[in-house]
């Protein structure tokens, strides 16, 4: 894209806002080009290519906050935009906790290169190559088994982006990042006219880490075939084994509660429980923004604060909330360098790369220890209440009988409370698996309610 760089625009916005009367301000600019090719039944179905650049500006004047965004970045428009943002801040009321980070917290000489967030090979990946990858992926799903009769298509997306952040304290940071993802959904016909579907995907920062397209197709096909003949089970209380992707979901629900924003709003069951032993000693969860090549890695956070690893749960002991500057000040803490920032909104705390530390057991050993229970491969709906910890989700997977996977199950629900689930984790696998910015192994919970017939 021609014209000024994202950092030049962020810098200009900060200067213009200062000139318009802003005491404090920061500006974030996101520029990207994206592409998507979707192949269905072997034919090209969708081809998208486009680029975008937009600016978000936060102004804090005497504790009064406004945030505005625009994609009209011409010099004249920018000047008016900065003045309007300063004016809008006067609607807000003073909040002593609002403000930029202290100078000492800001990242000095942030180095994104070491994080391996950018793969220049994505720039030269041709549309034809992308179509071939999507076609290979879907083709492998069909080739796996003749019972795969339909597909929702294989979709390959790339994004080549560049973000910049500047603030009125003189912080300037900027780095490029890429993503590539490939997803496919395979469909089979089951008895009574029911269809079964399963998907699989891979999403990475660089092409060489992407799972082989054919392997993605084969896994999606296998997950679909596995669901043929799925049935309900009677309501009962049993062991539940979470496959790694499901364990990532559980960890995400928990970490959403270990959040400064939920803390000051009184909306988390973890309020007042720092240092308390909540989980089984098998449970250690870390948040690490410095892992090379991972989705959540970042050299500075959404406010320019230097990032650092945080341990959220250490051997079952709840050990950290994640904070940005505002939520830290509200609760008498220090920022953990966890500010996330979109163009259109104020910073909020959030995780970078989450890992549930693996254990010793193989997944087979974990299943073998279950006399009767559920092997969970699907969760549906949003039945988790962060304020109370009540957990209730639609579920599917396999029934385990006498330590063996017996048959597929569907249309059931699992429920418990988050603290009981964490305390009840009695096995953790050695099969750490990454999904986007999170990694977890297989885990087993001693007892949950399964609702069925």
């Amino acid at each position: 894209m021609e014209g000024p760089s994202p950092l030049e625009i962020a810098r200009r916005a900060v200067l213009l806002a200062r000139a318009a009367g802003a005491e404090q301000c920061d500006a974030i600019v996101s520029m990207y080009t994206e592409s998507n090719v979707t192949v269905r039944l072997g034919e090209l179905e969708k081809l998208i290519e486009a680029g975008s650049m937009a600016l978000g500006l936060r102004v804090i004047n005497g504790g009064r906050t406004a945030v505005c965004s625009t994609s009209d970045l011409s010099p004249l428009s920018l000047e008016r935009f900065a003045a309007e943002t300063v004016e809008l801040a006067s609607i807000s009321e003073p909040d002593e906790c609002a403000g930029l980070p202290g100078q000492a917290l800001l990242a000095s000489a942030p180095n994104a290169a070491a994080l391996a967030l950018y793969d220049e090979r994505l720039e030269s990946l041709s549309t034809e190559q992308k179509i071939q990858m999507a076609r290979a992926c879907e083709g492998a799903a069909f080739a796996t088994d003749p019972r795969i009769t339909n597909s929702d298509g294989a979709s390959l997306s790339t994004r080549i982006g560049h973000m910049a952040l500047a603030n009125s304290l003189g912080f300037e940071g900027s780095y490029p990042a890429t993503t590539i993802s490939l997803v496919v959904e395979a469909i089979a016909d089951d008895a009574e006219g029911k269809k079964r579907n399963g998907y699989w995907y891979s999403a990475e920062r660089s092409l060489h880490r992407l799972l082989d397209p054919e392997e993605i197709g084969r896994i999606a096909a296998r997950r679909t075939l596995d669901q043929l003949g799925a049935r309900k089970v009677p309501t009962c209380q049993v062991h539940v084994v979470f496959e790694p992707m499901m364990a990532v979901s559980l960890m995400g629900d928990l970490v959403g509660c270990a959040n400064g924003s939920a803390l000051y709003r009184g909306a988390t069951f973890l309020g007042g429980r720092l240092g308390e032993k909540i989980g089984s000693p098998l449970v250690t969860i870390t948040d690490d923004p410095s892992i090379p090549g991972r989705f959540g890695s970042r050299p500075f956070d959404g406010e320019g604060v230097a990032t650092r690893p945080n341990t959220i749960m250490a051997k079952g002991v709840f050990s950290a909330f994640l904070f940005d500057c505002y939520t830290a000040r509200r609760t008498g803490n220090l920022t953990t360098g966890s500010a996330q920032r979109g163009i259109e909104s104020l910073p909020v705390p959030g995780p970078s790369n989450l890992t549930l530390e693996p254990g010793q057991a193989t997944p087979e050993e974990i299943i073998a220890g279950v006399p009767s229970g559920l092997y969970l491969t699907t969760l549906m709906g949003s039945g988790f209440n962060p304020a109370t910890g009540d957990y209730s989700r639609g579920a599917g997977g396999f029934w385990i009988e006498s330590g063996q996977v017996a048959y597929p199950v569907t249309e059931i629900n699992i429920s418990s409370r988050m603290d009981a689930m964490l305390a009840g984790i009695d096995a953790i696998g050695n099969d750490l698996s990454w999904f986007g910015a999170s990694a977890a192994p297989t885990l087993r919970i001693g007892e949950m309610t399964v609702s069925g017939t």
Binding site: S52, E84, R265, M380, G381, S392, S415, T449
Partner: protein, 481 residues
């Protein structure tokens, strides 16, 4: 507003010099590689919001986005590109990119894109958009909500609220010569109330709004929304754990329509049926529900959150009967699926923004009323659940399996509502549940405008509605065995 279509066309012409000649030229480029159909979707959108916390305005925001999305259709396939820059050079590049879904040699065709104004009546009930109200008027509404919630119950320890409004100018120019415009307003008021009793904290959320101006708050006051959130939070303090297993469920009027939206509506969107990936594929004319069930999607309801004068392909919104007396009548169509099935588009082609591609989507989806009274329906249940409001749900389109989180629910015991329940999930299968609808009441209600539908990562505002209905059995995902 007299004629939103004409005003929108003038807006893009005056502000960006996008006139019939410019549109004709871009469409001609878009079709130059043999596409069957092309369209330009221009959008200028302003979103404003004020956040209220700790009995004061925490922050104010305004986001402005503009751009054009250019789509070329070739058979069932689409080429798509967008640009935020509305100058001719950038738009020409986007048109060339989109054209590449066609495969023939470059050969520009003349296209005539001259606006035809329909002068059709607008489905938006407002005189002036909320965007143009002074901030103080909006802040006053937030203050009223705060006072009302705290006065409702002394356990209300926090009240977070926000008022948001959107004003969207759109213009669609198509290679078949159709050019239409619209101005789409949308307002939204959200409340979250926290009840604290000792160590026990319960949070409840409500919201409302629609395609209306500030006069919405004369019909639905900030006080009523805030008190409803406060009431639900306090109610949860005394709620029992929900039972687990299959039980009769009475779905209350209004909000329960979200169940219909998820469990049935998505499966009737024609893209899934064109691909044969829906459980309703090939079943038009067949019984798919109890004879008591008639389901309608209607984008023309005045002021409703899901209503649109024209969809994002420029087709007027319609009222579509999807299921009539239990028999499947048809699907919701955009241009691509309508061409595929050889039917007329139903005005269901929608996109979140100019950056997103068109999909067949619902507008306002609801079940028509029946003969029963809600009181009789509850009286007839020996042991079951009465489900009133929901925080959300999800469906697997391929087989109709769904789940719903119920935020306000009660036990029914011997025909009477007894204790409130917490942690209630409803798990089932859309066609199966619709076949088990055994009673339908006369008390149809459209839910207040708070629902947003997600599909392929695109979020759009929708309306839902329902009369009180008895489903003879749904799996309830509770913890009490």
């Amino acid at each position: 507003m007299s004629d939103p279509g004409a005003i929108a066309l003038a807006f893009f012409n005056d502000r960006y010099r996008i006139d019939p000649a410019a549109m004709s030229s871009l469409l001609s480029i878009a079709l130059s590689r043999g596409g069957d159909f092309a369209e330009l979707f221009f959008e200028h959108r302003t979103n404003s919001a004020i956040q209220w916390e700790d009995q004061r305005v925490k922050s104010a925001s305004r986001n402005v986005a503009q751009g054009v999305g250019i789509r070329v259709v070739k058979g069932d396939a689409i080429g798509y590109a967008y640009t935020e820059s509305l100058d001719m050079a950038a738009m020409r590049r986007a048109a060339e990119t989109a054209s590449r879904i066609g495969t023939s040699d470059e050969r520009p065709l003349p296209v005539d894109a001259t606006p035809h104004l329909t002068g059709a009546p607008s489905h938006y009930g407002f005189d002036s958009p909320l965007t143009s109200e002074p901030p103080a008027a909006k802040v006053a509404l937030l203050e009223r909500a705060d006072r009302a919630a705290r006065a409702h119950d002394t356990s209300i320890a926090r009240l977070d609220a926000s008022i948001g409004d959107e004003l969207k100018y759109v213009m669609v120019a198509r290679s078949d010569g159709k050019v239409v415009g619209d101005i789409q307003p949308l307002i939204r008021f959200n409340v979250s109330a926290l009840s604290q009793q000792g160590e026990s904290r319960q949070v409840a959320r409500t919201g409302g709004g629609g395609r209306l101006g500030i006069e919405y708050f004369e019909q639905v006051t900030p006080e009523s929304l805030a008190i409803d959130a406060a009431r639900q939070a306090v109610l949860q303090q005394d709620a029992r754990e929900a039972p687990a297993g299959v039980l009769p469920v009475v779905l209350a009027a209004g909000d329960s329509g979200v169940l219909l939206h998820e469990a049935v509506g998505h499966g009737l969107e024609a893209d899934f049926n064109r691909k044969g990936t829906s459980n309703y594929t090939g079943r038009v004319g067949q019984p798919v529900a109890s004879p008591l069930v008639t389901v309608v999607d209607d984008g023309t309801i005045a002021g409703s959150r899901g209503s649109i004068n024209v969809d994002d392909e420029g087709n007027p919104a319609t009222r579509s009967v999807l299921i009539e007396g239990g028999t499947l009548r048809g699907y919701l169509h955009d241009e691509v699926s309508a061409r595929h099935f050889g039917v007329a588009p139903s005005g269901s082609g929608r996109r979140e923004t100019f950056k997103d591609y068109i999909l067949p989507r619902m507008t306002n989806t609801f079940m028509l009323p029946g003969q029963d009274t809600p009181e009789d329906i509850i009286r007839g249940v020996d042991r079951g659940i009465y489900a009133v409001s929901y925080s959300g749900g999800q469906v697997n389109i391929s087989n109709g399996d769904f789940v719903f989180s119920v935020t306000e629910a009660y036990m029914i015991e011997e025909g009477k509502l007894t204790s409130p329940l917490r942690n209630v999930m409803l798990i089932g299968n859309g066609p199966d549940v619709l076949s088990k609808v055994t009673r339908v009441a006369h008390d149809y209600q459209l839910s207040d405008g708070r629902w947003t539908c997600g599909k392929d990562g695109q979020s759009i505002p929708v309306g839902v509605g329902m009369p009180t209905v008895l489903v003879s059995g749904i799996t309830v995902g509770g913890t009490r065995v």
